[in-house]
Structures are given as C-alpha cells and as structure tokens.
C-alpha cells in the first residue's frame, strides 16, 4: 500500500514540476519584455536585469520561480488590477468557486444516485426511461446551454433568482449556477449508478441476502447501495475536474466572482501573469483531487490496488 501511495505521490510531484516548467518557459519567452524600451542603454538594461535577478542562469531562476509559486507568491497583475498582488485577488475568489463546485457535485451526485438507483429498481419502467433520457441529454448538452435555459426561464421570466451574482444575496445567487453545473454530474452518476445497481441486484450475494429473509429496505439500502457507492468514487474525480472547466463558462455567464471568471477575464485582457498563476492553481487542485481519489479508492477496494501495482511492475 505505501509503495502504491509513494508511486502516486512521485508521479503527482513530477507532473506538477513539468507544468511549472512549461509555465516558467512561457513567462520567459512570452513576446514583449518590460525592458524593450529603446531609451535604455546597455548598462541600464544590465542594471535592471540584475535588479530582477534576470542575469542569473536559467536553472537558478527556475528554482526561485518554483519556490515563489509553492509559497503562493504569484507576482503582480498587469492589466486587470494594475500592480495588485495576484494572491490577494485570488484569495477572495477561491472560496466562492470551491463552494459553487462543491454544491454542484453534492447536488448532482445525490440526485443522480437517487435517479439511477430508482431506475434500476424499477427496471424497464417510466423511471428507467426518464433516467436514460436525462443521462444522455445531461452528458451531451454543454452546461452553458442549461445555464441559458435556467437564466431565461427561472431568472428572467419568472424572476425567482437573481440573473447575475449579487454579493448581498450569496445563497440565492448560487442557485442557478449550481443547477446548471450539476446537470453533468447528475447525468453521469445516474447512468453509472443505474448500471452498477443492476449488476449488484443480479449478483449472488444479493440472492443470498434475500433468501436470508432481509427486509426490502435493509436489502437495498445496506447491501446493495454500499456496493454501488464504491465504484462511483472513481467517476467522481473526472467529474470534479470537468466541473472546474465548466465553472469557467458558468461563472462568466452568471458573473460569479470566482477564479473561473477571473481566468476568462485574464485570458481576454492578456494578463499573462494572472493566467499562469490560475493555471498553476487549477493544476494543483486537479492533481490533488486525482491523488486523493486514487488513494481513497485504493483504501476502499483492495482489488484495484493490487491490479494497479501489478500493472505498474509492467
């Protein structure tokens, strides 16, 4: 087990290093440097370069850059808010995004699970058809389409919820973005839990549990549901990741003050420093989630751990 965790950790750190290296290269060789001013003579440029540490060899600059990034010092914003430290721009926005994402994942998983399990219990009925339709539509229709739909009908026509995020109404403002974001996890989980539940219901141990005379509730809630939940953890990781990208668009549409909309704004206003920093944060979150889920899965289901270890021996 520890060997498995160690391998995953090393791989995660390696991935992160590759990403930071790419980001570093991008900042180094991005067109346009602050010293392009023709009025500066060679000595002044040299003085400026030594002031900013640019006269040092590339590998030392890289290590400095890494240590800055790790400590959360991302430098200053150029365009969006001139000369404001990026870390302070992000600090207020990150919780909003995380909360939105968490709400969407929770809502989607819960509803999807209920729908999928119900579809499996009432196999080949109306509920089952509904589940199939919801999962196909939810997976293939982009989240911003749902966003527009909700925005127009619930926000604009019915006026139930604010169309744009209001800081004074943090709860009702997140209702529409959460709903729009939760469609994809809902569809995925519904589809997955339906298949899993059907498989579990047809298994020998369920027949055995049934023949022991367990009540229907205990049979399904304890014996079946538990075994359905385990594989669902594996789909959660890619789901959370897809939410991170989905939230960029959703946050822009509802003008939610989160990191996603900041990234979109930064891209549109060519604020490289902000883009690079947010990319780094996204990657850290992404790799972190993948790592946690992988380990969680290894702990819960020993079979996976063993096969993975064997396949790693290659």
């Amino acid at each position: 087990m520890s060997r498995y965790i160690l391998k995953r950790l090393i791989l995660a750190v390696l991935t992160l290093l590759v990403i930071v290296f790419v980001l570093f290269l991008m900042l180094q060789y991005m067109p346009g440097s602050p010293f392009n001013d023709e009025k500066l003579n060679a000595e002044q440029v040299a003085a400026l370069k030594s002031k900013y540490g640019l006269d040092q060899p590339v590998y030392i600059r890289f290590f400095k850059y890494v240590s800055h990034m790790v400590r959360g010092d991302f430098g200053l914003s150029y365009n969006i808010q001139k000369n404001v430290p990026i870390s302070s721009m992000i600090r207020g926005r990150l919780p909003v995004s995380i909360r939105l994402g968490a709400q969407a994942v929770l809502l989607g998983t819960l509803l999807g699970l209920v729908l999928g399990v119900m579809a499996a219990l009432w196999h080949n009925t109306f509920v089952d058809t509904l589940c199939t339709i919801v999962s196909v539509v939810g997976v293939s229709v982009p989240s911003f389409v749902f966003a527009f739909f909700l925005l127009y009908n619930l926000g604009f026509k019915a006026g139930l919820f604010p169309i744009l995020y209001k800081v004074t109404l943090p709860v009702s403002s997140t209702v529409l973005p959460t709903l729009a974001l939760s469609m994809f996890p809902l569809a995925q989980i519904a589809r997955f839990s339906r298949t899993e539940m059907l498989e579990v219901l047809g298994s020998d141990y369920m027949l055995f549990a049934e023949s022991k005379g367990l009540t229907s509730f205990r049979l399904h809630a304890v014996h079946a549901l538990r075994n359905v939940l385990i594989p669902i953890i594996t789909v959660l990781a890619p789901l959370i990741v897809s939410l991170m990208t989905g939230s960029m668009v959703i946050e822009k549409i509802f003008s939610v003050p989160g990191v996603g909309s900041l990234l979109v704004t930064a891209i549109q206003s060519n604020d490289y420093n902000v883009v690079v920093s947010l990319t780094f944060i996204y990657c850290v979150m992404y790799i972190g989630i993948m790592l946690v889920v992988d380990m969680l899965y290894g702990v819960i289901d020993p079979r996976i751990r063993l096969t993975k270890e064997n396949s790693h021996e290659g």
């Binding site: 791989l11 991005m30 196999h123 196909v136 293939s140 925005l151 498989e199 979109v264 549109q268």
Partner: protein
C-alpha cells in the same frame, strides 16, 4: 412464451431457466460480423436518430450558407437585430419577424426580405453564419477522429504490443500529460499562438488522443496473449504485419466507438474556446463565437442565442447517441443492461 414448462418448486423459488422459447436462432444462423453490426445498429432507435441528425446537419452545413444569397461576413447596418422570418411559416405567426409584438421588418419597409434565423447586431444573416459555424464544428470533429486514429491508436498499439520498458516509459508520459487538464493546455497554447483553427488543432494533437491510446493499449494487451496471435508468430510474421493484419482488424470496432465518443468533447473544446474569445478570428463564425455574440444581447434578442445553441447541443447529442449505438453494435456484451 406460449407453452412455458411449469415446474412445481414450492412457494419461494421459481425456475426460469427452462423455457420453450429458448432455441437456436436459425434466422441469424450465420452472418458476417459487419452485417451483424449493421443490423444491431439500425435496430437501435437512438443511434439511428443520431445518425439522421448528423446527416441532416452535415447537409445543411454544406448547402446552408449558399441557400439564401447572404454571406456570413456581409455587414448591413440597416438590418440590425431583425427577428427570424420565414416565408411559409409566417402565416402561422411563428417565424413572422415579429419580436415582442413589434415587426421591425414592416417598420423598415422590408416586406420581401426574409432572414430565416434573423440577423445579428451588425445585420449579418444568422442562418448563413450558423451553418458556417457548424462547418467549423464538423471540421473539428473530423480532425479529432484523424488525430485519434493516427496518434492515439499508434501510441496505444506500440505501448501495448511491445510492453516491458517501452510500455512503462510511454505510460508514464501519458500519466503526466493526463495530469494536466485539457482545457488548461488548450488555453495556454492559445495564449502563445495566434487564436484560430490551427492552434485548436495543435491543442487537440497534444492531448486529444490520450483516451484513445488507453483503449487501444488495453485491447492489444487483451489480444496479444491469444492463441491465434501465437499461431501467427509461429508462422514467422513480422511485428508490423502482426499488428496491422492480425490485431488491428479485431479491435477496429472498439476504436471506431472510442473515436466517436471523443468527437463531442472536441466540438465542445472548440465551442468553449470560441466562447471565451480564443477561437476563430472575426468575421469568421463558429458555433461557440455565435453563442458568445448572442449571449451579449440574450435578454433582448434571445433568438440570436437559440439557433447556434440548439445546433451545437443537437450535434453533440447526436454524436453521443451514435457512439452509444456503435458501442452496443460492435460489442453487445458491453451493452448497458
């Protein structure tokens, strides 16, 4: 079902194993694999619907932009924000050019002008622009399949077939690439390069093939231990012939299915990038950039958003439905219960 054999087994148990309706299907006694696939595919309502929709969208994308004489980049500031108007439908008070009870066609004296999907804020015909944009989405779909088939399949085949240190090394690379969110890679690439189709294609080439390489590798690992492969080896077949003639035809179905599944995500990537403003440059239109334009005047002129959004959603839905059908057709065992 007519004459079921009833066996008295007591109250708790009912034997369902012996039924009179279980017999060898003589109608399907011997058919080629591909014929079987076609039969299974056409029997699936969803996949046939998907294929029809894709064909319809494809035809409209080909002929649509030339159908009404407008061009996608012709700015006509006199015809701004005109609601959709179709000659034959206007009698039924839909598509009659009126928006919130106001017919701006009449106000402008354009009694004989018909913009089927309306016009945008610069007076450009949205019908033409929508189908021009669909062309780009379909082109991206095509590119995604080619990348999957060329890069993904060969990477997976080589990695799975040779195994050992080669496989180990290649899989580490995949794991690192997979550790970077795709849209982040794409976004970064767009910042370095000029936004446009070339950069989108390059971005797809960087990461779009990973899923496919995994499927190809897994399939090869499954097949390469089989007896017929051993037999071929014993006959002295070379590596390349073995892969191309023995293994590839047997995994082709799974590969086609997988490439179909990667189309919607490629289309979505392009739409996402255009929506964020990193897509094709103006005045060219893609579905994503049209949605972005429409979104700006969404609450006053919802039709500007509706048409490209519906086409994009239908396109992705259809490809997903078709991929589902293909998966079930190629491998009935994989079918979800």
């Amino acid at each position: 079902m007519k004459d079921e054999i009833k066996i008295e087994t007591g109250r708790e148990f009912e034997l369902v194993g012996i039924r009179a309706d279980m017999h060898i299907d003589k109608n399907y006694a011997s058919q080629s694999f591909w014929k079987d696939v076609v039969v299974r595919f056409t029997r699936n309502k969803g996949s046939v619907f998907g294929m029809m929709m894709i064909l319809l969208i494809l035809i409209l994308a080909i002929v649509g932009p030339t159908m009404n004489g407008y061009t996608y980049d012709n700015v006509n500031l006199d015809h701004q924000n005109l609601a959709p108007r179709v000659k034959w439908l206007s009698h039924f008070s839909i598509f009659d050019g009126a928006e919130k009870g106001v017919d701006r066609y009449a106000a402008l004296g354009l009694s004989d002008t018909y913009y089927w999907f309306g016009t945008d804020t610069l007076g450009r015909d949205l019908w033409t622009r929508t189908w021009e944009g669909t062309r780009i989405s379909l082109f991206i779909a095509f590119v995604a399949v080619v990348i999957d088939m060329v890069i993904g399949v060969s990477y997976g085949l080589v990695s799975g077939y040779f195994g050992g240190a080669v496989d180990s090394f290649m899989q580490r690379i995949v794991e690192i690439l997979n550790g970077i969110p795709t849209l982040i890679t794409v976004t970064l690439l767009m910042l370095v390069m000029e936004p446009g189709l070339k950069s989108i294609i390059l971005a797809l080439m960087l990461t779009g093939w990973i899923g496919m390489s995994r499927v190809a590798r897994a399939q090869v690992l499954k097949l390469k231990e089989q007896e017929y492969v051993l037999a071929a080896r014993t006959l002295g077949i070379g590596h390349i012939d073995l892969i191309a003639k023995e293994i590839l035809p047997n995994i082709f179905g799974q590969l086609i299915t997988m490439s179909m599944f990667s189309i919607p995500s490629a289309i979505f990537s392009e739409a996402f990038l255009s929506f964020v403003g990193l897509g094709v440059p103006t005045p060219m239109a893609s579905l994503g950039s049209l949605i972005n334009d429409g979104y700006k005047s969404f609450l006053t002129h919802p039709y500007m958003l509706v048409f490209p959004t519906v086409v994009l959603a239908l396109l992705m839905l259809s490809f997903n439905l078709m991929a589902d059908g293909l998966r079930d057709a190629f491998d009935p065992k994989m079918q979800e219960l």
